[in-house]
């Protein structure tokens, strides 16, 4: 497949050479050009789709990770019900017993699009499973992104740069990271729409065209319906206009384009239930509103200027500027005082003061997507484009038309945001590709021109023209070589870093052959087949969406994390002694508790390693009952072996994780492969209130059932004590075949 990818680069340069050498003109040239262009596009589309299929080829057609499982479940709901039902969907099978107003708290763009595709395919007689549509959704849209990026770059330079940009965006890992097959997430469609909005915006701005600006507004609306990151557009376009005004470049075209976009876009975006009245209330949208007002004033000033003398105009200008500032500041104060707007909220600070979130909003700080980004990550995601990027921005300054200002503003703002938050790398990648393509095509414009060797009328000698061509050949060759490396780099990164579904884990057998660890699905399927349809499953929130999607059982908390107290309840249940947890879980109607345990397999992302977060979140609500300090031993260490703290050993999570663990090992010395500590049977106290009902093949997922209340009204621990006294024989545990895997 990498062979296909490589091909893009070569024909690309062929076109550059082809177009540059304007030796002959006529129908043939344009015919060859357009057919080459088509060919290149087909190659780009094939490359961008096929490199995203690694995940499907390696594993299977499966939805990845966590959030996509929710999107998939919502799409299934939409396909099986009407659109109206979908918008009014109240999901009582999550956040039990609260439920979630799902229809009003999601971005419906993604699900609606796939449902539309599903219906359309059925209409033309192609009934495709909705799962396959969801899995292949992101690759398909990446092909569209490539085309839209081509169009956008054409507006900046020409078709040559456009083709390069399309090829870059097609295979660049920074974008693939969120759009491999199976990664059915909002970002899959959002980047396409981001590029489309910008493309139409620049077109509209260039021509002052109402039509194109309306298209930009429609794309914006679509974007709002699909991804929370639409706020980026809401701020970037006004900022662009603001910069143009500051540079003294106000024209009627800008007026027309911005007003059209703003009015249609804002009204349209308010139709999304989750967004509602945010565009006129929240401070995220204030910049757009402010620039809208400013533009009216500038337009008025522009009009007045043509009617009166310059002296009078200056006077009017000063008076009105002061007046507006006074009214503006007073108005802001009044509105804030009345509580109508809240411009100085935590989110506002957290963007600019990078330490704010870390200190004041721990739940944001704890999410790995919100971490700052290291330099290797930049390089991994964009390869040589990252050092081409600053040079490219400088070249934009050399041209500095309105559209170049846009790219500059985009680059500067987004490189800051990406540096602060890893997930925003996704929005930075397109602009790196675009500007990299522009810079590279400028280089090729100069150095891929081999015409001196053919022309005889140059004033220099034959030797000097030979030298020129040699130099050009050298420069071009080195950069073509970088392109070749880029393709290899992208393919390597995609297949090694971004193609794991994280639902099934790749592993190796002793002999080096590939093995697949499929414990998650095994466990979820067990739940689906062996438990009551209305059974309530308690697990840490990370697995909520997967349980909902794969096991179709009711969960207490899930990845939507809208209710911190509810999450803390689960955290408290896990961190408390059995009898307390039992009571708490019974109060919430829980039937089963599911935990992830990586000690057998050596899987680091398990619940014991996440345990501290559960404790911390529970402590935030019940500081009296759960104390983080109690879980540490004296030296401030977090231990799980015989030296573990008493509270730790008594906690439900510990007991459930290590229940029967030591029996797996012949000498009774359980070796925890994650924490590298030895656990013996004596370390783990009896589990009296819960029954182990299922442990997956590698013990990755363990499911416990809450025992029924005793018929004689005794305490369950007394019952267990009584039973033990009666029958000292231990029940044997199922042993996984751990010898098989490394």
């Amino acid at each position: 497949m990498s062979e296909i990818v490589e091909k893009i680069v070569v024909p690309d340069n062929a076109v550059t050479a082809n177009e540059e050498s304007k030796v002959t003109s006529g129908k043939y040239v344009s015919f060859i050009q357009s057919s080459l262009k088509t060919l290149i596009f087909i190659a780009i589309i094939v490359a961008s789709i096929s490199s995203r299929l690694f995940a499907v080829v390696r594993f299977e057609s499966i939805i990845h990770e966590f959030d996509p499982w929710f999107n998939y479940r919502a799409t299934q709901y939409l396909v099986n019900n009407s659109f109206k039902d979908f918008l009014n969907w109240f999901d009582e099978r999550t956040w039990y017993p609260l439920g979630r107003v799902t229809g009003g708290t999601l971005y419906p763009g993604l699900m609606t699009t796939s449902a539309f595709i599903w219906h359309a395919l059925r209409k033309i007689g192609l009934p495709v499973d909705i799962r396959n549509i969801c899995v292949l959704f992101a690759p398909a849209f990446s092909a569209i992104t490539a085309y839209v990026t081509y169009k956008l770059t054409c507006e900046l330079k020409d078709q040559k740069a456009g083709l390069l940009a399309a090829a870059f965006i097609g295979i660049v890992p920074g974008y693939i990271s969120r759009s491999v097959a199976g990664s059915y997430d909002n970002e899959a469609i959002a980047i396409t729409l981001l590029m489309a909005t910008f493309m139409f915006w620049i077109k509209g701005l260039k021509q002052g065209s109402i039509l194109n600006s309306s298209f930009a507004a429609l794309c914006y609306f679509y974007m709002v319906s699909a991804w929370g990151g639409y706020v980026f557009i809401t701020n970037l376009i006004p900022f662009h206009v603001f910069c143009l005004i500051l540079m003294g470049r106000y024209t009627a075209k800008i007026y027309v384009a911005y007003n059209t976009w703003f009015v249609i876009g804002t009204i349209a975006s308010m139709q999304i239930p989750f967004v509602g009245f945010l565009p006129i209330k929240s401070n995220d949208h204030m910049a757009a509103l402010g620039v809208f007002g400013l533009l009216q004033l500038v337009a008025l000033g522009d009009f007045v200027k043509t009617k009166i003398s310059e002296k009078k105009f200056k006077l009017i200008m000063w008076v009105s500027v002061i007046l507006i500032m006074v009214i503006g500041v007073a108005g802001l104060f009044a509105l804030t005082y009345l509580g109508l707007i809240a411009p100085w909220t935590g989110r506002f600070y957290s963007l600019w003061d990078t330490n704010y979130a870390r200190i004041h909003i721990p739940i944001i700080a704890s999410v790995s997507e919100h971490q700052p980004i290291t330099w290797p990550a930049f390089f991994l995601d964009t390869h040589f484009l990252i050092w081409l990027f600053p040079a490219a921005v400088f070249l934009m300054f050399m041209d500095l038309k309105n559209e170049h200002v846009f790219i500059i503003v985009y680059s500067v703002l987004c490189s800051y945001f990406a540096g602060v938050m890893v997930r925003l790398m996704l929005t930075l990648t397109p602009v790196i590709c675009i500007s990299g393509a522009v810079a590279l095509s400028k280089l090729f414009d100069i150095y891929l021109d081999f015409s001196p060797i053919f022309s005889t009328k140059t004033t220099g000698t034959k030797k000097s023209s030979f030298m020129t061509v040699l130099t050009r050949g050298l420069v071009s060759a080195s950069f073509v070589y970088y392109l070749y490396l880029f393709v290899h780099h992208c393919t390597w990164v995609t297949q090694s870093a971004y193609s794991s579904p994280s639902v099934v884990l790749p592993s190796q057998n002793r002999d080096g052959s590939m093995a697949i660890i499929d414990d998650y699905r095994e466990a979820y399927y067990w739940l689906r087949m062996n438990t009551d349809y209305d059974a309530k499953i308690a697990s840490w929130w990370d697995y909520g969406y997967q349980i909902g999607g794969m096991a179709d059982r009711t969960t207490l908390v899930d990845n939507n994390t809208w209710n911190n107290t509810h999450i803390a309840i689960v955290g408290k249940a896990m961190a408390s002694p059995e009898e307390v947890s039992y009571e708490l879980l019974k109060e919430h109607d829980v039937d089963y508790v599911l935990i992830i345990f990586g000690g057998v397999l050596g899987f680091g992302g398990d619940d014991i390693n996440k345990f501290l977060w559960m404790i911390r979140i529970a402590e935030g609500i019940w500081p009296e009952e759960v104390k983080e300090r109690d879980f540490f031993v004296n030296q401030g260490e977090f231990r799980v072996d015989s030296q573990a703290s008493e509270t730790m050993k008594k906690s439900l999570m510990y007991k459930m994780s290590y229940n029967g663990f030591a029996d797996l090992f012949p000498n009774g010395q359980g070796q925890d492969r994650v924490r590298q500590q030895v656990i013996t049977a004596d370390d783990v106290e009896n589990l009296d209130y819960f029954d182990e009902v299922f442990s997956s093949e590698n013990w990755l997922v363990r499911i416990y059932k809450l025992k029924d209340l005793d018929v004689e009204g005794r305490d369950l621990s007394d019952v267990a004590e009584f039973e033990r006294a009666k029958n000292t024989k231990r029940s044997s545990n199922k042993k996984p075949q751990i010898e098989l895997r490394v």
Binding site: T354, P376, W387, A391
Partner: protein, 347 residues
Amino acid sequence: MLFDRFVSVCISALLLATTALAATREELAIKAQKSPNGIIELDDYSFKDTLDAPRDFYLVALLTCTEPGVGCTACFEFNPVFETIAESWVRDHAEGISLEDPSKALYFARADLSDASAVPEIFKFYNIERVPRLMFFTPGGSIHDYHLLNLPQQKANAGASEFITNLKIAVGINDYQIHEPRDWSTVMITAIATFAIVYLFRKHNKVITAVISSKFVWGILCCAFITLMSGGYMYNKMRGTPLAGSDNNGGVVYFWPNEFQNQYGIESQIVSVLYGALSILFLALVLGIPNLSSFYKGSASGAMIITVICTVLVVVIYALFAGLTSLFSIKSPRYPFELIKISSLLS
């Protein structure tokens, strides 16, 4: 009446007798107020009195070492933080007693090993081997009953506020807030900068306007900013990473090997410089060479010069890029596309 007074005198005498050894709240409050930042200095004579039972207050004691020969950087870092913490408490509570809940009092003490020849008694008493140590004494315990507290993970004022938050929970009080010492240097810098800018504007209006509206200036500024960001500068700023690390033999390590999620401060500086150099070389190829060739148009030696310059540029770009990839393979050892190993790339 007389009897009442007699009883109360007796009781207070009794109380005095029992508390004769241990320090009282009042004594500590006076000591705390005497010191410039509300910290009671523990000397060889008083430390047992201060720490011994019976206590009716909370006490945080810092054992630190400012002896330069010991070279305890953590001590030097934490000392001002501890002073901020103590000062913040004393400023609002002169008596050291919580305003909300008068049954709770809190004091701060410190013992400093500032002279290696005279190790304070308290260090011997507790067998202190490592500094800085934070000891937390709760009411009712004896001189041997204390918990060790962790140093705050964050630096400077953020660390102080982290510590105060934890202390509030540990003591069970709410009326404790941080008073950050005002940093006059930033105020001064702002004032001088403002003055300088205003002055420049008035004097050299035209030059300033030209600079501000110059696209070269803006271009260079923007590119520098982008280069900084893509070098991972924000990571260093937010995480407060150390500039460089050291290996087991005490040698300096510039690049954190095999760590994708972590980096040293110097890494992003090196990488930013590399990016910047590569960008400038690229710009030289795109902007410089065409200008040069139009300058030498027609001359035979011109073609030669341009060939040489281009070759040099291409080779340097290749070398720098190769350096970049080999740096990357320090961070990610399995990376197969190192430019230095050309042979492996052509397979």
